[in-house]
């Protein structure tokens, strides 16, 4: 009975409400795991000398969830001892210093969860259809992740 209650789970959520580190880390805690690793992406208040007022995120929601599920599947292939994965991303307006994304991974020992969290955020930036708009005082800018292979970046 204990074992079936601790089946590895993926907790994926895209939501417009404020994200909670407590909530996300509690989702992945497990009596079989000695490690929970966490990444929090927060909003900086400046970009190239311009003051950032806030960020706005939009998503191709159904495909974003599918791509995040693929990331979780890949994590479990690469790090089979990973237990639970939680990935919450905020949509809509995100004020400065608040979290845009929180990723938590649990595993029996720390190496796997630390590596898995890194993989999750890097792969999210390269493959999940979510877009960020930085709002400055008198203009705005759609950001482009350097991980995105179809962005023009330095061409």
């Amino acid at each position: 009975m204990e074992e079936s209650e601790d089946v590895p789970k993926d907790f994926i959520k895209l939501k417009s409400e404020k994200l909670s580190v407590d909530e996300v880390s509690e989702l992945v805690v497990s009596p079989y795991c000695g490690a929970v690793s966490l990444f929090i992406g927060t909003t900086r208040n400046n970009f190239e000398g311009k003051k950032v007022i806030h960020l706005e995120y939009e998503a191709y929601t159904s495909m974003a969830e599918t791509e995040i599920k693929k990331i979780c599947r890949d994590v479990r292939q690469k790090w089979p001892s990973v237990k639970h994965i939680a990935l919450h991303h905020r949509l809509g307006v995100v004020p400065i210093t608040e979290a845009s994304v929180i990723i938590a991974v649990s595993s029996p020992h720390r190496a796997e969860s630390l590596e898995a969290v890194t993989y999750c955020i890097n792969t999210l930036k390269a493959s999940v259809p979510i877009w960020k708009k930085e709002i400055y005082e008198d203009e705005y800018s759609w950001k482009e992740n350097k991980e995105c292979f179809w962005a023009n970046s330095e061409k």
Partner: protein
């Protein structure tokens, strides 16, 4: 008849987020782009920076032949910036 979804900069340039378009059942991804630009010429400026998602799989603009079914979702995907 496919559903075309516009996001981020492409939604701003097209002036809408979603519409139904009639396109040939078999068409290359580049030809599909050109059909869409006929309807929304302002999209031409982002041609080098977008990919499609056809039935939620990424497709580059090029010679890839798409076989479309009625009601398929085709999304215009500008450079992403999640996280």
């Amino acid at each position: 008849q496919v559903s075309v979804l516009y996001f981020a900069r492409s939604a701003e340039l097209a002036g809408l987020r979603c519409e139904t378009l009639s396109v040939p059942r078999e068409i290359t991804s580049l030809q599909l782009w050109e059909e869409i630009v006929k309807v929304h010429p302002r999209l031409a400026v982002i041609r080098d920076q977008v990919v499609f998602a056809v039935r939620q799989e990424y497709v580059l603009l090029g010679d890839q032949l798409l076989v479309l079914q009625p009601g398929d979702e085709v999304a215009i995907i500008p450079p992403i910036s999640g996280g």
